[in-house]
């Protein structure tokens, strides 16, 4: 077994485990921390596929920026455990898990039927140089459009979150 396969198994199992903790933990802070761990595992999987820039972005944007924001909001709202509202719990969970199993079976059937190339070629398409080259030539218009979207999001979140000033 090559190092790549061992890394894939370790990262995959730990990613599944941390994702499971995220969706089952009663405490939102534990949930958020497990999700940070999940994002690190995904960054490792990206590195395993020679997508270095995406791995760095994953850690910076998701594990860094977005999760800090989420944890900040959890702290700000001072949320307790989710124990108090347990009614109507079982039927909803049952239906959701059933839905999940059916969805997973469909995905697996589709993905096993697809025949792509199974060999990871040595290439440098994940490097910063290639990504930057693509971004500022072929994808320049979406790049500029996304900056407008981010500006709109900044203004929108400030307006939504601010208190009413009389």
């Amino acid at each position: 077994m090559s190092l790549e396969i061992i890394l894939f198994i370790v990262l995959g199992v730990m990613g599944i485990a941390s994702g499971f903790v995220t969706i089952t933990s009663k405490n939102p802070v534990v949930s958020a921390m497990a999700l940070v761990f999940h994002f690190f595992m995904l960054a490792g999987l990206y590195l395993n596929m020679h997508a270095q820039f995406m791995a760095v972005l994953q850690v910076l944007v998701y594990a860094g920026a977005i999760m800090v924001l989420v944890i900040f909001v959890i702290m700000l709202l001072n949320l307790g455990d989710e124990e108090k509202l347990k009614e109507k719990f079982s039927i909803r969970t049952f239906v959701a898990v059933l839905f999940g199993i059916v969805l997973l079976i469909q995905f697996v059937i589709i993905f096993l039927a697809s025949s792509g190339s199974n060999v990871l070629k040595e290439s440098n398409i994940g490097s910063v140089e290639m990504i930057g080259n693509e971004l500022f030539t072929n994808y320049l218009f979406p790049f500029e459009a996304i900056s407008l979207l981010l500006l709109a999001a900044i203004i929108g979140s400030v307006i939504l979150a601010k208190r009413k000033v009389d």
Binding site: G15, T22, L35, L42, L45, V61, F107, L150
Partner: protein
Amino acid sequence: MQESVPLNYYLILSAIFFVMGAVGVLTRRNAIIIFMSIEMMLNAVNLTFVSFSSYNSDPAGQMFVFFVMAVAAAEAAIGLAIVLALYRNQQTVYVDKVNLMKW
């Protein structure tokens, strides 16, 4: 030539991540945890994009991941602002308790 992980394995792993996120959205009642489950689903799709991109030597997939990340960052800011506004008006973040439009 060292043996590498087949593409299907990455796709199935991302399917598992996606399904976990979907089940999280359906079962949890805390708006912030629902929000985190949505982030998990976005990441599962990102993993699919990156694996196709790497195995087909096509940078388009990684470009899409870049844009998905930017949209997810915008979505995080707006979504958490909505949760804050919800908490300020209803004193709860449990979506079962937010039933103003239910009759």
